[in-house]
Amino acid sequence: MKAPLSWIREYAALPDDVTADDLAARLTALGLKLEAIERPGHDLTGPLVVGRVLTMEPEPQKNGKTINWCTVDVGDANGTGEPQGIVCGAHNFGVGDLVVVVLPGGVLPGGFEIAARKTYGHVSAGMICSTRELGLGDDHDGILVLPADAGQPGDDVLELLDLRDEVLELEVNPDRAYALSLRGVAREAALGLGVAFHDPAERDVPPADGAGPAVAIEDPEGCPVFVARTVSGFDPTAPTPDWMARRLALVGQRSISLAVDVTNYVMFELGRPIHGYDADKLTGTVGVRRARAGERLTTLDGTDRALSPEDLVVTDDSGIIGLGGVMGGQTTEMSATTTRVLVESAHWDGPSMFRTGRRHKLTSEAGRRNERGVDPEVCEAAADRVVTLLAELGGGTVEPGVTVVGAPPARRTVTIPLDLPARVTGMDIASHTVLAHLEAVGCRVETGPDTLTAELPSWRPDLADPFDLVEEVARIVGYEHVPSVLPPAPSGRGLTPAQTMRRRVGRTMAGEGYVEVLTFPFVGEADLDRLGLATDDPRRTTLRLANPLSAEEPLMTTTLLPGLLATVARNVGRGAGDLALFEVAPVTRPRGDGAPILGVDRRPDAAEWEALNAAVPEQPLHLALAVAGERDRSGWWGEGRTAIWADAVETARVVARALGLELTVRSAALAPWHPGRCAELLVDGVSVGHAGELHPRVCRDLGVPARTALAELDLDALLSRAVPARAPEFSTFPVAKEDVALVVDADLPAAELAATLREGAGPLLEGLRLFDVWTGPPVPEGRKSLAFALRFRAPDRTLTEQDTAAAREAAVALAAQRHGAEQRA
């Protein structure tokens, strides 16, 4: 909301020395935050005075132009009282006209300095100004001719035309709709500076007389008050006076025509949107009702709209003529030939306005005010102000009939304990202060021994609850007086185990050389196709956004891989070669039949709460990682090592180990992994994720390095299985080491053979490590040799060679029996 200081001063008795900055600081402290201060005219320097044209002699020039050699009476402004000789190129004025003259020494907008200079054979001592040159707009090209009664030659034009002003641009929160008017801003300004406020809505209005335009309201809830007045004999060519056009320009409203400008002017003045109809285009009774299914209306903006039965419409006998409170229709629009104007000043139901505005995607100054709530008591004053201005400025006559249908709702009351503001804000606020401040905002207050009852001002529909009054009192006392006191928090339990473990996972990943990224959770079907997910893959069951930012990504992702791989590709595109990335974020698995919208007058009961939660998608936290390029870099120390599928598996193991869990691994085939290089990761026999090498086709499609390795784990599943570590029991008797090399079928997973050896060796086996894998001669085709180092130890004695040999033989025997393993010599 833009509010010129000069306009505010009209209603608030601000001391002369109050600056825009002072006022802005007070308004900001009251909750109307300053966005900016504009200072139009502040780049104008006088002398800038009223001049009367005494003589005017056209002098044709060789270049075809005709200039006027004028003498202008500028009073004593030039110090001599003699007429001022000025050359002027414009012709839209004449002898006797009052014009604006800038004398030598003055500066016009843009730093244009005026000096007496020789031109066209004369000494031109100054300039006769156009609207544009004065920074008053660029709608007119010619010289600004002042009204005959504007002033006397020599009068200071800067003051006369309010050329200098300061405009406060204020941010108005949705609850303070009353501040979308000068009436409201000035009221706050008066409040902020403790000065008198003159309410522009206070005017004597003629009472309803039943002789006005015929109006029938079918929906009094949607339109509780409808005031109609008529002006006839209006001159549609009458211009908008400069002062009004100027003020409209300052508040950011373009001047359109006198009739429209007057309705806009009153809207900015009083906050009440007004609609004017060409009364001659109306037929019969004006009505208000809800639209019926199938009805349509072409609004002023030329859009043909299908109406909803929730839309409030204005009708006459011809049908629908406007979308009530939001936008008028084309058929009854005021035009360049309108001479009879029917003025509608109606109060509309805010929520209906909001819904209609949203449904038709219509935002307008009127709609913005109507949906947030306008003072229902100003309808008559606003209508009267409009018809008076139309008659005054447009040469018309206010017709005597006044129609008022309905009445503003009674003012509401709220009762609060006198000490409530102090109790809620923690400030020391005396009862009499509470009383005074509530009266200052416009409440009529009655006090009891411990309570007060406030009758709420009609222009504050946002006030409804006791705490609303607390805020009113607090903002006038000043939020800066709220003390700073620490609350008496109870002893807390710190982070939950899951929260601690999540941090541990992140630190572990960073320690392993992975960089964390945060990606958007949006994907499209094409992203899932590119991963090669089967049509029945559960990751295809997604939640769809109704209004995605990009039509290509309308789904909430079920896997972190698309975002992570896109990030790999982006980094590669930016020249990074060796990459290790990870992300920890939830994925979305839809479920249920929808969440209920519950009441808000009580807490949900157990069944409602359960139903609500059951409808919210499962959103397990996932960990995804990708590694490409050299995992260990090459350097002066020698060759590095390129990341392979096993790095992804091992990182998953490291993460699990950081949580005290040991992953088991089995081979699997799941998109988007290489079908021969995909490991399923399990804890206690439950699958928690997959790791391995990215499918080469997917690598190509996504533009990530060949052989990129990746893993995705359900971190919640991991965390839920983590148990506190227990101290190990270990023997200090000597260790016995044995190696064994076994030849088995090439497709036997090493993990399986290791498990067999462990089982066969029995309790004396302390540990086992695979240290070599060999295929090729002398191992026969289709077979491979796996070499293990075994460590044996007993808890209670030193093992004999026989003990160790027996355990080793048992392990080999079980491997032979179960897998056909042969010992390699």
């Binding site: 009251l30 909750g31 929160n173 949705p174 609850d175 805010g350 949203r358 947030r372 809620v424 804000t425 923690g426 609850d465 705490f467 805020e471 903002r475 939020y479 800066e480 700073s484 006191v485 609350p487 008496p488 928090a489 807390g492 339990r493 982070l495 939950t496 941090r503 992140g506 320690g511 050389g513 960089v515 990224v517 945060l518 990606t519 959770p521 939640l543 956004l545 109704a546 209004n547 930012l549 909430m556 990030t567 982006r570 990074a576 990335l581 979305t588 969440a595 209920p596 919208i597 519950l598 808000v600 807490r603 609500l612 409808a615 919210v616 995992r631 870099r633 350097g635 002066w636 590095g640």
Partner: protein
């Protein structure tokens, strides 16, 4: 050992006279001094102090001297041998130092050689800042509350006093999901976590909830459809706005330095009443910007906009099952991304979500 010399020959004992002993001593000391390395010294030791060295042989002759001569000769030879032993020890020490110095010099490497065998990992600064903020409150006894990103519409709006026709719903550009009748949204704020906290805990409640939120903002240098907020909620008896300010001032003091405090301006949020916008004193110019030179961090305002806060609206307490006659509460919320931007000089929000490894690695392992 030599016994008494039975074949006494006065000629053979001339080495025991003063001149000879001195000559042997001088020769030995010269040899010791002349040894160039430890091996050389070992040879000298054998030659001049070994069993067959001239002085050792001379020593053996002492017994053969007449008793009156023994004492002088013994002293002479003993002193000479002592001097040689001492010189050997000293030279040994010298040569050992030299040898070690030589070895160390030979083993010198170029310590500026890189050893970046494994690329550096890093956590995301948003993650770290979220944890840092949470820790300030956890240290005060608060707990960290969490909730889902895809949330029930009722929890994101209605329960927070944002009814279906509340004009404030247009303040937040919501991602809605299909089908509409399922009433699910991407949470536009972390406030539904506050509602969940009230519905699942009993007062006193002291929780802080950092997390991701979503709004349909176009992606540019200062907007992102996904960003991060942290909200705090306290429900207890006797809670006032003063406790709100105290908690925030404490947090700012910890995160930005002693004396960095809040300013409240009246504002509007459906969730709170009274509501306030909170600004913090600029931690760079400490609020002096308007008076002194421009400050880039606060753009010369002296204050940095932080977020919103207020006293929990009793309507919200009712919908979330808290007795408004018994308890009051406060809540606040602000953007973590924005704080990262002004605290650490991030100029483009997109840097946070594009995943360029150069971004995260620049922040180290903690903030």
């Amino acid at each position: 050992m030599s016994g008494p010399n039975s074949e006494y020959d006065p000629v053979q004992v001339t080495p025991l006279d003063e001149e000879h002993v001195e000559a042997m001593r001088v020769a030995a000391l010269e040899a010791v001094q002349g040894a160039t390395d430890l091996a050389d010294l070992k040879r000298v030791r054998t030659e001049h102090a070994g069993d067959r060295s001239p002085l050792a042989l001379a020593n053996r002759e002492i017994g053969a001297l007449p008793p009156q001569a023994r004492k002088d000769a013994g002293r002479r030879v003993g002193q000479a041998r002592g001097a040689v032993t001492q010189a050997l020890a000293a030279r040994q020490a010298e040569l050992e130092v030299e040898a070690e110095a030589r070895m160390l010099a030979e083993e010198t490497v170029d310590v500026t050689l890189p050893w970046d065998r494994r690329p550096t990992g890093a956590r995301h600064p948003i993650t770290m800042l979220s944890e840092r903020i949470a820790d300030v409150f956890v240290a005060m006894g608060w707990e960290v509350a969490e909730g889902p990103l895809v949330e029930a519409e009722w929890l994101n709006f209605d329960a927070l006093n944002l009814g279906p026709d509340h004009p404030a719903r247009t303040m937040q550009d919501t991602f809605w999901t299909e089908p509409a009748e399922h009433h699910l949204v991407l949470r536009t704020q972390t406030s539904p976590v506050q509602a969940r906290a009230m519905l699942t805990r009993t007062p006193p409640i002291y929780v802080v909830s950092p997390g991701r939120v979503f709004r349909t903002d176009e992606y540019d240098a200062t907007h992102s459809p996904m960003f991060h907020q942290v909200e705090g909620l306290v429900i207890d008896s006797g809670i006032t706005m003063a406790h709100l300010r105290g908690s925030l001032d404490h947090m700012l003091g910890v995160l930005f330095g002693e004396g960095i405090r809040t300013r409240f301006r009246p504002s509007y949020f459906p969730f709170t009443e009274p509501s306030a916008e909170m600004d913090m004193v600029c931690f760079v110019c400490r609020g002096l910007a308007p008076a002194i030179e421009d400050c880039r961090t606060c753009k010369g305002e002296g204050w940095i906009e932080l977020g919103g806060c207020g006293v929990v609206n009793p309507r919200v307490l009712v919908a979330c099952g808290v007795d408004p006659d018994r308890y009051t509460g406060f809540a606040f919320g602000f953007g973590i991304d924005r704080m990262l931007m002004f605290r650490h000089g991030v100029s483009d929000m997109r840097d946070m979500f594009e995943g360029d490894v150069r971004f995260s690695t620049a922040f180290g392992s903690d903030l």
